[in-house]
């Protein structure tokens, strides 16, 4: 009997530890990001670091301004959202309201598949197909640019937007739509004036999820954006926050390396804010039903 009780105690302790591991992991990641990111920001100066327009990490007199990276990440993400959201939302509407069950059932795996493709594969296809097309269409010397990154990111965030929006649209109470039809509204009027507005918070959650994905993507962007520390311009080679880290990490040392950790901290803060917004939205969405 004693033995049994001991085992019982040990197992409940083990399960508690497993649960606690998740909290420990998040805390460890946050602490390490902050500790390793702060020193370089202090040494360089907050203003010079965040608002400096020049990044020359390997020059004799190095300059560590990450404004180009921040703006590129913001513009790149915004562009991807601008393209991805309408297409994603409309596809979600198709799946939720127009397609019959058979078509929807064979369409959904497509979306899941799109989500499962590794980012390096997106990067490779972007590099081989998209970059030359952009180069030829716009008569550029080099096709690796912000536009290429935006297009790749727009495709990559589609699955998040589609699946979250579809869930939200499916959850709209049937009565709302029936009431709209009873008042004489057409199908499209019902979808766009009743269904979408009532699924709003879920759709916004999908968009925020997409923003998080886009701002955190590194490899695919690395392969198509050119990775030069320019201020963002649609047809210029640019560096994102993520690619600034990836590009130099392999050989960086000293202050340069510390500055890369500071970039990671900035990215981490962006992500945490986005996650916070997402959590609030998802709670709101599920609370209203």
């Amino acid at each position: 009997m004693k033995m049994k009780e001991a085992v019982e105690k040990i197992m409940s302790g083990f399960f508690f530890l497993c649960g606690a591991t998740t909290i420990i992991a998040v805390s460890a990641i946050s602490i390490y990001m902050v500790i390793s990111g702060i020193p370089a920001i202090i040494e360089i100066g907050v203003k010079e670091f965040l608002l400096g327009e020049v990044w020359k990490s390997t020059a004799a007199e190095p300059k560590f301004g990450i404004l180009p990276f921040i703006l590129t990440s913001v513009f790149g993400t915004f562009g991807a959202i601008l393209l991805g959201v309408p297409i994603g939302l409309m596809t979600a509407v198709f799946l939720s309201k127009l397609a019959n069950e058979k078509i929807a059932a064979s369409f959904r795996p497509t979306v899941e598949l799109l989500a499962g493709i590794p980012s390096v594969v997106y990067g490779l296809v972007g590099m081989i197909v998209l970059v030359p097309v952009i180069m030829n269409t716009f008569g550029l010397k080099n096709g690796t640019c912000l536009l290429a990154a935006i297009l790749v990111l727009a495709i990559m965030i589609l699955p998040s937007i589609i699946s979250v929006s579809e869930t939200a649209l499916n959850a709209v109470p049937k009565e709302y739509e029936e009431a709209s039809y009873a008042l004489g509204a057409t199908k499209m009027e019902t979808i766009f004036k009743v269904s979408i507005p009532s699924a709003k918070s879920g759709i916004v959650a999908g968009i925020v999820l997409g923003i998080g994905r886009a701002i955190g993507e590194a490899m695919a962007v690395m392969m198509v954006a050119g990775n030069v520390a320019n201020m963002p311009e649609l047809f210029k080679s640019v560096t994102f926050l993520t690619t600034a880290i990836t590009k130099e990490m392999a050989y960086a040392s000293g202050l340069q390396r510390e500055a890369l950790f500071s970039i990671a901290l900035v990215l981490f803060i962006f992500i945490m804010v986005i996650n916070g917004i997402l959590n609030v939205l998802l709670k709101k969405g599920s609370g209203s039903k």
């Binding site: 992991a25 994603g88 596809t91 127009l98 499962g116 390096v120 594969v121 590194a218 990490m249």
Partner: protein, 285 residues
Amino acid sequence: MTHKLSTKRRMYGLALESAIYLCAGITAALLIILILYIFYRGLGTITWELLTTQRSALRGTIGILPNILFTLYIIFTSMIIVLPIGIGAAVYLTEYTTSKKLTHAIEFAIETLAGIPSIIYGLAGYLIFCLKMGIGTSILAGALTLALIILPTIVRTTQEALKTVPDSYREASVALGSTKWHTIKTVIFPSSLDGVVSGSILAVGRIVGESAALLFTAGTAYSLVSNYFDALGTSGGTLSVALYVYVSEHGRFDVGFAIASILMIIVLIINVSARMIKKYLVYDR
């Protein structure tokens, strides 16, 4: 009595409906073109030599056998690490916890882990596992990092499965005099196995596709290592990392597309099997 809609309303409906079909068409076309293009460029370049040798600078040939092995090693290692922790955390959340605060904290932690991008995991893993713990750039460090990345997936799918186990099972077991752990071992675990399996399949998909988190933790090496335990301590690039290295550093697009085809086949298999298990899960209950 028939009412005709005004032209404006009809145009409104027509425009929106065509926009919906157009966008759904774009989404479907994107995927079909992507898959066909990758297979078109890649399948032909997969040769026996590519799959069964390692890269030789001397002969100027490229082989991805080490990368295939590294991928398998890293899948195996990270699953061994994550399964007990992930399942344990899910069991704690559904069977044990009594404190609401702690539950919220754990759930918040899981949501946060799911939202952190790979590149951050890569840096944190490098700082914590490679430097602080002194493991160095190695398969083990990569596997530990990946274990953190897939932890939310395992916890969530296991939790879903545990929630579907009816309370009457638990009550019956306890009524027969079982202790809590005995109930979990004999009643809860067997009933939640399919959830764990489907979560594991999804996790494998994530591991296979991961690159940014492995670049600094597991590295990019491509030499054959004699056995699994030696490999744990050495640097090694998985297939996705190898794709990036061959394309970006060596300009070998043929090898890139060959690996991309292999990755796509794996993704397809994972997708289909995950769906089959889901179906089985639904029929089962």
